[in-house]
């Protein structure tokens, strides 16, 4: 009797099973060559086969050694179900299949005494999304004619920058006209959808570059003033010194990665960036900070960030900032000063039950120097987060956005610090619908990151498919610095897809503004929304319909 070690990881424990059809396989090796995780390997099996080569049946047993493709069974190299093997196989001989009985996460923790890590979440499985339970119910009819999405002009820009109340604008009358009598906080107007902050490092350089190219193209050729947030981790010098920097929102987070490169380039910048975003927290793994593993810190990343090849873990908090007031004085003021008060400085926090307190504090800031409040919900984020953080920390974004907006309404300060919200935007694949609903609920605009990855060709989804952003082995070259894998990504195609998606989104946004009869953004027009869910209606203070 063979020795049986029941505690070892077994095929049945894996989340994904490789289904291999020996009779279809021609042993071309493409699957082996393309699997980034090393989850399959070539081997030889002894096969017993009964054959008959006579006119009448004369069975005989044949033993053969045949080459086969096998699944590797260990917790490090477990199949992620990305399906690249299936994509490259010319004969439909191999494919991963979800194992409903898998228990890899348990085995992983048992074996490594470490949290089970997985990367992104899906944008493909929107089950239970609040936004999908809201529809636009106020349709203009006779008294307030709907507009024609194709023919009418629409005016869709959102502010980034501190908005002062009219008495604070310092306007003076001169010869019957208002004139500005003193400097005011900087303000930039931009498309209400920002490409969210994903760092050069988390993304492959090619992916990041593709987004930057798409952003520039959208601005200069399409006429959509879309801005892109750089994420923490620096910006290539040539971009900083180019005019394209005007489309970028530079991010500084707790690790300050790449910030010295930005500072060193300031003297050579020919244009101002669109904004500066101070990241306090993110939605997907609040409290974790950044988690760039050493394996993704390639040479060019080391150069951009100014760091050695090591795990780059941003602290979850900004060392030295212990109160909102202090933050305002220290960081916001210094960043405002760095750009000579010409560039709006905004803050990004993870959505939390305390977000409203932070927002209230900023709204009451007597210095008026915080130019935007970005809140990031639980469904946001890419990267190398642990399972426990992804699945069990964070706050849904929709109600938190609404809470913040209504808190501002309560004080009569709505709009004074523009609200931008993200985290699962476009989860159902339709960014325009989500943006529109969030704007009606009080957002000035939204930001989206993960959807951009899906557009680029990310194969991951919620059922544990791929989710290998943390491994540095992204099979499609989006979240890796591995030169072989990165080359799988076609920069021009990604940029084209992103541009096309935004053009479609812009059309769709107009298609939603037209039926409610609005040619400008309906910020706070929650009367345009209805929901068939009583609880959502009550929580968001929007009409209930059934």
């Amino acid at each position: 009797m063979a020795t049986m070690r029941v505690n070892a990881i077994a095929r049945d424990d894996l989340q994904w099973r490789i289904v291999y059809k020996h009779d279809r396989c021609t042993m071309c090796g493409r699957c082996l060559a393309s699997c980034p995780f090393g989850s399959i390997t070539a081997g030889v099996e002894k096969r017993r086969k009964v054959i008959s080569d006579h006119l009448t049946p004369q069975p005989k047993v044949l033993f053969q050694s045949v080459p086969v493709i096998r699944q590797v069974i260990n917790h490090q190299d477990a199949c992620r179900g990305c399906g690249i093997c299936e994509k490259v196989c010319p004969n439909e001989a191999i494919a991963p299949m979800l194992n409903p009985h898998g228990r890899l996460a348990i085995k992983y923790r048992s074996a490594t005494a470490d949290g089970y890590k997985r990367g992104g979440r899906s944008n493909l499985n929107p089950t239970g999304s609040t936004l999908d339970k809201i529809v636009i119910g106020r349709i203009s009819q006779m008294t307030d004619p709907s507009l024609d999405a194709q023919r009418h002009t629409f005016d869709m820009l959102s502010p980034l920058g501190r908005v002062l109340p009219p008495q604070g604008l310092g306007l003076e009358l001169k010869d019957g006209k208002l004139i500005t009598s003193r400097p005011m906080p900087p303000m930039n107007w931009m498309y209400p959808i920002i490409i969210g902050d994903m760092s050069i490092g988390a993304l492959s350089t090619r992916m990041w570059e593709a987004l930057a190219i798409a952003t520039a193209y959208l601005n200069e050729e399409v006429g959509l003033p879309v801005r892109m947030c750089t994420g923490e981790g620096g910006v290539p010098g040539p971009l900083l010194r180019s005019r394209f920097v005007r489309y970028m929102i530079l991010q500084i987070a707790s690790g300050h990665f790449g910030w010295n490169r930005i500072v060193n380039n300031m003297a050579h910048m020919q244009d101002d960036p669109a904004g500066v975003l101070i990241k306090i927290g993110q939605g997907a793994k609040p409290g974790d900070g950044g988690m760039l593993q050493a394996k993704k810190v390639a040479r060019h990343i080391q150069e951009i960030r100014g760091v050695p090849k090591a795990d780059l873990l941003s602290p979850p908090n900004h060392q030295g900032l212990y109160s909102i007031e202090e933050s305002v004085q220290k960081m916001f003021l210094s960043l405002n000063a760095a750009f000579k008060f010409r560039v709006p400085v905004a803050i990004k926090v993870a959505a939390s039950v305390t977000s409203v307190s932070v927002y209230n504090n900023l709204l009451r800031d007597p210095y008026n120097i915080v130019g935007g409040f970005f809140i990031d919900g639980i469904s946001g984020g890419t990267g190398a987060a642990q399972d426990i953080s992804l699945d069990h920390t964070g706050h849904p974004i929709v109600s938190k956005l609404r809470d913040c907006y209504l808190a501002a309404v309560h004080q009569g300060k709505q709009g004074q610090i523009p609200l931008w919200a993200g985290g699962g935007m476009g989860q159902a694949g339709n960014l325009a619908a989500d943006a529109f609903k969030m704007i009606c609920l009080g957002a000035n605009g939204i930001f989206t990151g993960k959807l951009m990855l899906q557009i680029a060709g990310c194969v991951g989804q919620d059922n544990g498919k791929c989710n290998a952003c943390n491994t540095g082995l992204c099979p499609v070259g989006i979240c890796t610095q591995n030169p072989v894998l990165v080359k799988r990504l076609d920069i021009d195609k990604v940029a084209e897809n992103v541009v096309n998606y935004f053009i479609a989104t812009d059309q769709e946004l107009k298609k939603l503004m037209a039926p409610i009869g609005n040619s400008t953004l309906p910020v706070g027009r929650s009367d345009a929304l209805i929901t068939t869910d009583r609880a959502i209606a009550d929580k968001l203070n929007i009409p209930y319909a059934c």
């Binding site: 008294t143 005016d155 002062l164 008495q167 005011m184 009569g412 400008t520 706070g524 027009r525 009367d527």
Partner: protein
């Protein structure tokens, strides 16, 4: 759809002019009511221009509540005028028992106070009266302001005219500025307060259209001024924005258009005053109006104006003679009262225009 109209005249005119202006547009409204505000009054009120007039519809009990309150504040009544009520069988009208147009002297301790103090007292008093009368449903206070009278009624405008004897011209009851609307509120139940024109501290506004930004307008306005109350009609927001821009902020009238229907960004960018316009657009985004509407407004100094939404989805026309300017939703209203005018001078304001009639009856066309 609402029909609105306004007349500004160098001579005192009787409300029958406003009734005729509006009745000719009968097919455009539902005959559910008639309301008007008269300013720069003639007739019996001509000699009392500095004294506030209370315009109210109420029960006897309401009258008593109001009188007690006014006297307790220190107001003393110095005169009154009652419309000559002519009830008749078959009139389609839902009248209140009493219609009050009373003239008051300011409380003694405020007689030498600043205009601003007096104006605030009048507003606060009206709100207090309204709140008190709302408790029992004993009355509706439409205005409490010098040289201003307001009448709002439910029913067929022709019958309302008959009931109040408004068809018969009389020199006792005249004004140089009359704004009127023939319709009751349709957004919700019929509510007398919801009938245009709306009035606050010398500012009058009436509108034909739909304020699709009503909710955001309202949310913002509620915190701006204690006088911004009611919101029975989405069009009340237009009045409050006018009041806020012109009186509270002290901005010239042209910035009302810049606030309510801002220029598109690409046009703002080309302007010399782009900084100011962009700041207004950001700061007062919640006062924007983005739906089909035409607004007629009157400022405390008697200046009258009209403007449209940025898509011009509601019509308005301005016609004039040497002594009178009329603004109307439909040109047939103006044809009715000014049949001999030079119709080639009629103005159909476009979506970026504010047409202003000053006290010399000059008609100015401001381009946004």
């Amino acid at each position: 759809m609402c029909r609105i109209g306004a007349i500004k005249s160098t001579e005192y005119i009787h409300p029958s002019w406003a009734l005729r202006l509006m009745r000719s547009q009968q097919k455009g409204h539902d005959n559910s009511g008639f309301a008007m505000v008269m300013q720069d009054l003639g007739g019996v009120f001509e000699g009392y221009k500095k004294y506030p007039i209370l315009s109210m519809a109420c029960t006897e009990q309401g009258m008593k509540i109001a009188e007690d309150m006014l006297y307790s504040i220190g107001f003393s009544r110095i005169g009154q005028w009652n419309p000559e009520i002519r009830p008749a069988a078959g009139l389609n009208i839902e009248p209140m028992p009493m219609y009050v147009f009373q003239l008051f002297h300011y409380p003694k301790h405020l007689r030498s106070a600043s205009d601003r103090e007096k104006e605030d007292l009048l507003m606060d008093t009206r709100i207090k009266l309204r709140r008190e009368l709302e408790k029992t449903g004993d009355g509706f206070v439409y205005s409490f302001w010098p040289d201003t009278m307001t009448l709002k009624e439910i029913g067929d405008p022709t019958d309302i005219g008959t009931y109040f004897n408004l068809w018969e011209e009389s020199k006792d009851f005249t004004a140089k500025v009359i704004t009127a609307q023939c319709r009751q509120n349709t957004n919700y139940d019929i509510v007398r307060y919801a009938a245009h024109p709306f009035f606050l501290q010398g500012y009058t506004a009436l509108a034909n259209g739909e304020n699709t930004f009503y909710e955001k307008n309202k949310h913002f306005q509620q915190g701006l001024n204690r006088g911004y109350i009611g919101f029975e009609s989405d069009s009340q927001c237009f009045l409050y924005t006018l009041h806020y821009i012109h009186r509270e902020l002290g901005w010239p009238l042209e910035y009302y258009k810049h606030t309510a229907t801002p220029l598109p960004f690409d046009e703002i960018e080309k302007r010399a005053d782009r900084d100011v316009l962009l700041r207004i657009r950001s700061s007062l985004a919640h006062l924007e109006i983005n739906g089909p509407n035409t607004i007629i407004g009157v400022l405390p100094d008697g200046t009258m104006f009209t403007l449209c939404d940025s898509k011009k989805l509601r019509p308005v026309v301005v016609g004039r003679t040497d002594t009178m300017v009329a603004i109307s939703s439909e040109v047939n209203g103006i044809n009715e009262i000014l049949p001999n005018r030079d119709w080639k001078q009629d103005i159909y304001p476009h979506e970026r225009e504010t047409v202003v009639i000053n006290n010399d009856l000059e008609v100015l066309r401001w381009q946004q």
